[in-house]
C-alpha cells in the first residue's frame, strides 16, 4: 500500500471579484471595497469547488487534503466532500496577501505533493515568493488578471490535472512563468506586465505517450539541446542580449556563466557584460558591436516582446535589427499555444508591424520550427 498523496489547497476568496464589475483586479483593499459596492460576489470558491470535486471523484481516499481555515480553503473543501486537515491561521476580516503568504508557508512546511491554489496573478505572485520552487503547484483560474502560465485552462481541467499528477507513477514537473501587471496602469488602459518568478507546475503531456509516438524526451534534455545549438552558432565578439526565462538561462548555464532568471542580461559568450539591464543600459552597450537578442515566448500566451521584457524596447529591437532576433522555445511550449500566433506589444506599432509574419524558432539541437507572429 502506498502512502496517501497530500494535496494542499489555498483559495483566495476575493480573487476575480473585480472582473465582473469591470475593475480589472482586486489587489488593493480600496478596489475590493469598490467591487463590493458595485455588487461583485465571490466566485473563487465556486470554481475551486469544481476542481476539488473532480479530484475527490478520481482519487477518493487516496488523497489527503490539507488546507487553510475558513474561506481560504476549509469551507470549499468541506462543500466538495473532503474531510480536510486544516492548518495555519487567518487574520480576522477580509483575507489579505499576508494570509495567502502565510498559508503558502504552512503548505511548504507540511511538504504537500501538490499545491492547488485558486486565484489570479496576485495570488500566484504571493505563493511563488514563498515556496520559491520548493513545491509543485497549479492554479485554478479564478482571478481577473491571468497573465501567468501557471493555470489550468479551466477549473475542471485543474482538477483533472491534479488527479493525474498525483496518481502518476513518475510525476513530472516543469517551470512556468509567474507574471503580473500593474493594476493601476491597467485600469488606465496600459498593460505593463512583469515577470515575477517561476513556479514548478505539473508537466502533463496532453496525452500519455503511445508506443508508436515514443517519448518526446525530458524537458531538461530539450533545454540542453536548445542551449547547445545557440552556443554552437554564437559569434565571437557579438553582444548577446538574453531575455528572461528558464529556456534562455540554460544557454548561459551551459557555458558556465550565470544569468538572472527574470532579467534581461548582456553576455559576450559566458562573460557577463551587464545583469538585469535597463533599456538605457542595453542601448549604451549597442554602439559599434554586432548584437543578437535571444528571447523565449511566455508560456500559454506567446508574447515575445512587451510582457515581462519591456527593456527590450522598440528602440533596442530597431538598433539590433529584426534579423538578429533569435527565438528559442520547447516544442511543448509551442504546442501549448494551440496554434495561436506569437504576440508583440512594444508600444510602437511600426516596430510591431515590422516583426509580423513568420519567424524561425530553435526548438532543440539543430532543430527549428517556423511560427507565425501576429
Amino acid at each position: 500500500m502506498t502512502a496517501r498523496k497530500r494535496l494542499g489547497l489555498i483559495v483566495n476568496p476575493i480573487a476575480g471579484m473585480g472582473g465582473g464589475v469591470g475593475l480589472k483586479g482586486t489587489d488593493s483593499a480600496t478596489t475590493l471595497q469598490r467591487a463590493r459596492e458595485l455588487g461583485a460576489t465571490p466566485r473563487s470558491g465556486i470554481r475551486a469547488n469544481v476542481a476539488l470535486s473532480i479530484v475527490l471523484e478520481r482519487l477518493g481516499d487516496e488523497v489527503e487534503l490539507i488546507t487553510a481555515p475558513g474561506a481560504m480553503g476549509e469551507e470549499i473543501a468541506l462543500s466538495a466532500g473532503f474531510t480536510p486537515i486544516v492548518i495555519g491561521s487567518v487574520t480576522g476580516g477580509e483575507t489579505s496577501p499576508d494570509d495567502t503568504r502565510h498559508a503558502a508557508k504552512v503548505m511548504l512546511d507540511a511538504g504537500v505533493d501538490l499545491l492547488l491554489f485558486a486565484g489570479g496573478d496576485g495570488t500566484a505572485r504571493d505563493i511563488c515568493g514563498v515556496i520559491d520552487g520548493h513545491l509543485i503547484s497549479l492554479g485554478i483560474p479564478t482571478g481577473v488578471k491571468m497573465h501567468s502560465a501557471v493555470y489550468a485552462t479551466n477549473p475542471r481541467s485543474a482538477g483533472e490535472a491534479a488527479a493525474r499528477f498525483l496518481i502518476a507513477a513518475t510525476p513530472r514537473s516543469r517551470e512556468a512563468e509567474v507574471m503580473d501587471i500593474d493594476e493601476e496602469l491597467f485600469r488606465g488602459g496600459r498593460v505593463s506586465a512583469r515577470l515575477y518568478g517561476m513556479m514548478r507546475v505539473p508537466d502533463l503531456p496532453r496525452l500519455v505517450q503511445n508506443l508508436k509516438s515514443g517519448s518526446s524526451g525530458s524537458d531538461q534534455a530539450v533545454l540542453t539541446g536548445i542551449a547547445d545549438d545557440i552556443i554552437e552558432r554564437m559569434q565571437d565578439g557579438a553582444l548577446y542580449i538574453i531575455g528572461p526565462g528558464t529556456t534562455t538561462r540554460e544557454i548561459v548555464t551551459r557555458m558556465g556563466g550565470q544569468k538572472t532568471l527574470l532579467g534581461v542580461d548582456l553576455f559576450c559568450r559566458a562573460e557577463a557584460i551587464a545583469l538585469d539591464a535597463t533599456e538605457a543600459q542595453i542601448l549604451n552597450h549597442l554602439d559599434g558591436i554586432p548584437a543578437r537578442i535571444v528571447v523565449t515566448p511566455i508560456g500559454g500566451q506567446g508574447f515575445l516582446f512587451g510582457r515581462g521584457n519591456q527593456q527590450l524596447s522598440a528602440e533596442v529591437i530597431r538598433r539590433v535589427g529584426p534579423e538578429n532576433i533569435i527565438v528559442v522555445a520547447t516544442m511543448d511550449k509551442i504546442a501549448g499555444l494551440r496554434g495561436d500566433p506569437f504576440l508583440i506589444d512594444t508600444g510602437d506599432p511600426v516596430t510591431d508591424e515590422s516583426l509580423a509574419g513568420y519567424i524561425r524558432v530553435v526548438t532543440n539541437y539543430h532543430t527549428e520550427t517556423v511560427y507565425q507572429i501576429a
Binding site: E160, R206, D332, G339, T369, V370, Q372
Partner: protein, 524 residues
C-alpha cells in the same frame, strides 16, 4: 444486428502464458523423424561432416525445446490475447494503413521457391525473383513518375533515411555539402521526415500548420535560404488533408537549389490519382507494408521502396537489379551509391507480396483501392462527426483523403473523459486501441483513424457504434470509461514503464540482461 448505441458484447481471453523461451524441457521435441536407412547413411555419411569445420557450431543454439502441440497452443493463446490482430477490423491504427492482406500472397511468399532462397545464390539460379524485383520497380515508377526504385530499405524510415543520404550525396557531388545544411519539413509530416535527416547530419526546420491544417507559402519562404538542402514532407499529412500548395513548395525549394523528397507512407488515398513527379518531387518512398498490402506490425518483414528521378539514380543503395537482354542480375558496380542501408537485399518476400497484390488489381484496380479508401474514410468521418464530443479540427477543407485526426477535446471538457480513456475502453468491444497522434501533439485529445479499402460498411458502422456508445457512457457513467478496459486480456498498461529504456528489451538477450532489474522494480 446492433443498433446505433448497442455494440456487441466481447470478452478477451487471458492466459497466464510464459515467454516461449522459458517453456519446454531438455529433450522435448516437436517431431522426431525416423532414422535413415543404413544404405543412405553409408552413402551420405553423417551429414555434418559435409559442413566445413570452421562453420560448425561447437554448442547448439539455446532454443526452447518443445512439443509441436505446445508450440501451436502457445501462439494461438498469444493471438487470442492480442485480439487476433491479423483479422481484427483495424481502422484504429490511423496512418499505419492496416489493410487486409490476401492470404494467397502469403502462400506465395512461403513457397520453397521463395522461402528457401539465399541472398548469396548465383544470379542464374534466381532469375524469377530478380524479374519480380525488376517488374515491381517498373510498376512503382509508373505509379509515382520516378525513374528508379530500391527495395533494400527494410522499412519506411530506412527509405527516408536513404533519401536524406541521397540529398547529402547530391549536394556533395556539386561541391555544396558544407553550404547545404538545412532540411525543411512540416509538423504534420511523419516524425521520421525530421529524424532521418537529423541522423544524416542536417539541421531540421519544421513548418507549423496554419488555420487550414497545412503550412502556407509564407512559412516556407521564412525557412528557405541558400542553406536549404531539401524538403522532406508527407502529403496528405496525418490529418488526411492534402496541401494544395505542394507544387509551389517544390518549385520554391528547387529555385533555392534544394531537392524534394516525398514521404508517401500516406499514399493509400491518392494511388492512380496524383503522382510524386507531377507534384515536383525528385524522390519518394512507398511503404510496401502499408499501401501495397504486405502484412506489418509483428506480422512480417516490411519494405520501404525508395524511388528517385534518373538524375539521382546513381546514388541509390547498391546493389540494384538490372536487365540485360532477357536476363537479370545484381549490379554492384555503382561508384556513386550511398552504400548499403540494409544487409543483403532487404526483405525480398515483401517485394513478392506487393508484386502479386498489384498484379491482381491491375492499373484500374489500384485507383479503385484509393477511391474506396477515401470513400470509407469520409463515410466514417461523417458518422463520427455526428457523435457529440467528437470534433474534426481544421474543418472547412471539404472531404479528407485516407485518414482523419479527430479530437475528443469537447468530450473531455464536458465529461472529463479523455482520448486515453476512450482508447482503453474501445478494447472492451473487441476493437484495437487506436493511435492518438505523432509528436508534436497539435490536435488536442487526438485520435487518428484510417479505414482502408478492405473494411465493409458493416465494419465501419460497428466502429462508429462503439465510439457513439462510449461517448454516451462518458456522460452517464464516466467512471466506468475511465476505469476501462474491463473485458480485455490486460487491464491497464503502464505506458511510462514500458517506455522505460532501463527495462525495454528488443531481444531475448536484452531481456535476460534487464529482467532481473525489471522484476525487482515490479515487486517493490
Amino acid at each position: 444486428m446492433n443498433s446505433i448505441h448497442t455494440p456487441r458484447a466481447y470478452h478477451g481471453a487471458k492466459w497466464d502464458e510464459p515467454i516461449v523461451l522459458d517453456m519446454g524441457a531438455p529433450g522435448e521435441r516437436g517431431y522426431i523423424p525416423p532414422a535413415v536407412e543404413p544404405e543412405i547413411a553409408a552413402s551420405v555419411g553423417d551429414g555434418a561432416s559435409l559442413i566445413p569445420a570452421g562453420m560448425r557450431r561447437s554448442t547448439p543454439p539455446r532454443l526452447p525445446e518443445m512439443a509441436q502441440p505446445s508450440v501451436l497452443r502457445h501462439y494461438l493463446r498469444l493471438s487470442q490475447m492480442t485480439m487476433g490482430a491479423h483479422i481484427t477490423p483495424d481502422a484504429s491504427l490511423g496512418t499505419c494503413t492496416m489493410k487486409y492482406s490476401p492470404l494467397v500472397n502469403e502462400e506465395m511468399a512461403r513457397t520453397p521457391q521463395m522461402g528457401e532462397m539465399h541472398p548469396y545464390q548465383d544470379d542464374d539460379t534466381a532469375q524469377g525473383i530478380l524479374e519480380i524485383i525488376y517488374g515491381l520497380e517498373r510498376m512503382l515508377c509508373e505509379i509515382s513518375g520516378m525513374d528508379a526504385f530500391t527495395f533494400q530499405p527494410a522499412g519506411g524510415s530506412q527509405a527516408i533515411f536513404a533519401n536524406a543520404c541521397i540529398i547529402r550525396a547530391y549536394h556533395a557531388s556539386r561541391g555544396e555539402a558544407e553550404q547545404r545544411t538545412d532540411i525543411i519539413s512540416t509538423s504534420f509530416s511523419h516524425p521520421i521526415d525530421c529524424a532521418a535527416p537529423a541522423v544524416a547530419g542536417f539541421r531540421v526546420i519544421t513548418l507549423t500548420p496554419g488555420p487550414n491544417g497545412y503550412p502556407d507559402l509564407g512559412a516556407l519562404k521564412a525557412a528557405v535560404s541558400n542553406r536549404t538542402a531539401g524538403l522532406m514532407m508527407t502529403n496528405p499529412e496525418d490529418t488526411g488533408i492534402f496541401n494544395p500548395y505542394v507544387e509551389e513548395f517544390t518549385r520554391i525549394v528547387h529555385e533555392a537549389g534544394g531537392l524534394c523528397a516525398y514521404d508517401q507512407a500516406n499514399a493509400n488515398g491518392i494511388l492512380g490519382i496524383t503522382r510524386a513527379r507531377e507534384n515536383g518531387f525528385d524522390m519518394c518512398q512507398f511503404n510496401l507494408h502499408k499501401t501495397f498490402s504486405v502484412p506489418h506490425g509483428s506480422a512480417g518483414g516490411s519494405c520501404g521502396a525508395g524511388g528517385v528521378t534518373a538524375e539521382l539514380a546513381k546514388f541509390l543503395p547498391a546493389p540494384m537489379v538490372v536487365k540485360e537482354g532477357d536476363r537479370f542480375r545484381w549490379d554492384y558496380d555503382r561508384p556513386d551509391s550511398i552504400g548499403k542501408v540494409r544487409s543483403f537485399h532487404g526483405n525480398v518476400q515483401a517485394v513478392l507480396r506487393s508484386y502479386a497484390w498489384i498484379m491482381a488489381h491491375g492499373a484500374e484496380g489500384i485507383q479503385t483501392v484509393a477511391e474506396t479508401a477515401v470513400l470509407n474514410n469520409n463515410y466514417l468521418a461523417t458518422k463520427l462527426g455526428a457523435i457529440p464530443g467528437v470534433s474534426i479540427p481544421y474543418g472547412g477543407n471539404g472531404h479528407r483523403l485516407q485518414e482523419v485526426r479527430y479530437s475528443w477535446q469537447d468530450l473531455l471538457d464536458e465529461t472529463g473523459v479523455s482520448t486515453e480513456d476512450v482508447r482503453r475502453r474501445i478494447v472492451d468491444f473487441g476493437l484495437q486501441g487506436y493511435f492518438t497522434s505523432h509528436h508534436p501533439v497539435l490536435v488536442p485529445e487526438p485520435f487518428t483513424l484510417e479505414p482502408c479499402e478492405s473494411y465493409s460498411r458493416a465494419d465501419l458502422d460497428e466502429y462508429a457504434t462503439v465510439l457513439g456508445h462510449i461517448a454516451d457512457e462518458a456522460r452517464t457513467n464516466p467512471e466506468h470509461v475511465r476505469a476501462a478496459p474491463h473485458s480485455a486480456a490486460i487491464h491497464r498498461i503502464q505506458e511510462d514503464v514500458i517506455n522505460d529504456p532501463a527495462r525495454l528489451a528488443m531481444t531475448w538477450r536484452g531481456y535476460q540482461k534487464k529482467q532481473g532489474a525489471a522484476r525487482e522494480v515490479a515487486t517493490s
